[in-house]
């Protein structure tokens, strides 16, 4: 018991130290590095949410770029067309995310399994094509944020980068710790059951459809918010960049697959390894993309639980323990 208690404290200390280091990072890093870290946090949040959908609920979406792009566009529309101060526009983006995810979900959930996957992809295409039709937002070529609003948000570029970083850090922490918390609640137990067998979970009284829809909407809204932050940093938006299948869906799927689908730690490990790979190999161009494809197929064939699966085989240590619970209860 003492050993276990000590482990628990050490574990919390590690997590707190990590969070503190991340909070203080802007004071230690240069602008370029800080922007890279911001991007990593956004990708981590997106990958973790995709992982919740696919790894725990069997909802394989290939259309998450719909919500990232939508969030970016609503954010720009509020700023450009209505002159809403940027900080105020963010909660509105969240609300708009919920508002658009509800009907989108209604359509997408008419399809199941592999058809759900392609259906979400079509819907994202529709969003992209519609965004390109809005001429007041630059049509197909896109538009920039009004410089006055950007100055209101933060007078100095360095301060702006830091604010965006902290907002992204906050979101990433909410998503990662929120998933951890969720997995330790009744809902988490239900999700784990669904991951093992949806029919069995249903027969135990888990309202699987309701759970799926609710989480789908929450995740869509948070993705929209991340989209707003991503394009706040870029200061410019276009349909191709906002609704990029490559950037906001393929990459996050790769991160989740690489790190380990169906584990909370997987996406964190995945995001670190992905950015290392990108740093060293992206200059290979097409061959780099071929390599990503080969790696993900290799993982699916030989290591379906990804890199974290390999780690798990060699150590009992977990960053976000959710599976010890039964043991804990048994010992108590």
């Amino acid at each position: 018991m003492t050993r276990r208690w000590l482990d628990k404290q050490a574990h919390l200390v590690v997590l707190a130290a990590l969070a503190a280091a991340l909070l203080a990072a802007p004071f230690a890093l240069g602008r370029g590095d800080l922007r890279l870290l911001t991007e990593m946090l956004c990708m981590l949040a997106l990958a973790q949410m995709w992982n919740l959908l696919a790894g725990y609920m069997g909802l394989i979406s290939i259309g998450q770029h719909a919500f990232v792009g939508f969030g970016g566009y609503v954010f720009f529309a509020l700023a450009v067309l209505a002159g809403v101060p940027l900080l105020w526009a963010l909660p509105l983006v969240l609300a708009a995310g919920v508002a658009v995810a509800l009907p989108t979900g209604l359509l997408a959930f008419r399809l199941s399994g592999p058809y759900f996957a392609v259906g979400t992809w079509v819907i994202a295409e529709v969003y992209r094509l519609l965004a390109a039709q809005v001429s007041s937002l630059g049509g197909g070529s896109g538009i920039s944020l009004p410089i006055a609003l950007v100055r209101d948000f933060a007078a100095h570029p360095v301060l702006r980068d830091r604010l965006i970083y902290w907002l992204c850090l906050g979101l990433a922490l909410i998503v990662v710790l929120g998933s951890w918390w969720l997995m330790r609640t009744r809902v988490g137990l239900a999700l784990t059951a669904m991951g093992d067998s949806e029919q069995a979970a249903q027969s135990c009284g888990v309202p699987t459809q309701r759970l799926k829809r609710a989480l789908y909407v929450v995740i869509a809204a948070l993705s929209a918010l991340i989209g707003a932050l991503i394009f706040l940093q870029k200061l410019r938006i276009s349909p191709a960049a906002a609704f990029s299948l490559n950037d906001w869906t393929i990459t996050i799927i790769f991160i989740a697959v690489l790190g380990g689908i169906g584990t909370l730690e997987g996406p964190i490990l995945g995001v670190i390894v992905y950015f290392l790979l990108r740093e060293y190999f992206s200059q290979l161009g097409n061959w780099y993309m071929v390599m990503l494809g080969v790696v993900s197929i290799g993982i699916m064939l030989f290591e379906p639980k990804g890199l974290w699966g390999i780690v798990q085989r060699h150590t009992r240590w977990r960053l976000f323990p959710v599976r010890h619970r039964l043991n804990d209860q048994a010992e108590e």
Partner: protein, 290 residues
Amino acid sequence: MIAEFADALVQGLLLGGLYALFAAGLSLLFGIIRFVNLAHGDFIILAAYLGLMLVEATGLHPLLALLVVPPFMAALGYAGQRLLLNRVVERGLLPAILVTFGLSIIIQNLLLEVFSANARRVPAGALDVASVALPGGINVGVLPLVIFAAAVLALGGLGWFFRHTMTGRLLRAVSDDPPIVGLIGADRRHLFAVATAIAALTAGLAGVLLMMKTNFDPAAGPARLLFAFEAVIIGGLRNLWGTLAGGMILGIAQGIGARIDPGWQLLAGHLVFLLVLAVRPRGLFGGRRR
């Protein structure tokens, strides 16, 4: 004005044949192996590039590529299923989807590496400009007619194959109840590979027809996958002729959309698909289950 829309209608109908051919391979695999091959569109574009290479190397008429490319694609499909996909298809949805998604990215980028991002088309000689006049002042190109006829013939051939050959019947049996097929002594892994070979064969046919009809580039695959998917859903699952109707509806929607505004060509097709999904989720000529 009316003539213009009638023209869009006819062109759309003819294009629908090609879309149905895109869709046939996709729905075949879903029916038999219960998975969606996300690389299906890239198979079609790969076949188009193979046809391009063949025509450029030998100077043959592009229509003759129909005799070479589809069988080659079928062999590729058989091998791919045996060596790669059979390892994942029975491990659930996620591995199969992700492996084919990975294949899609690999094919696209290899094509990009070899052929560059430039859009290509294979001229079909005199066929390109030949046309027949229909009553009402509508001119229909001979090439779209040939493509439509080839697509419908291929669909008819598929229907015949599933009804009248031993392998076809076995495949339908796998589709109805996979475990039972093992009991009657058939090799499921072989049948899966045959199914993929046929799907790849249709992709090969579609690719060769496509290369004469429109410009294509290495990134053109996913859009073809989405058209195929929409044709299947609009027409209703497990219904070959429903798929043809679905392809035609999609083709007409795109044609009319394009007449309204070039930006609306794809959008109109997608919106019709979403409308069908909202109103009749089982498709217009609905299958029993999905």
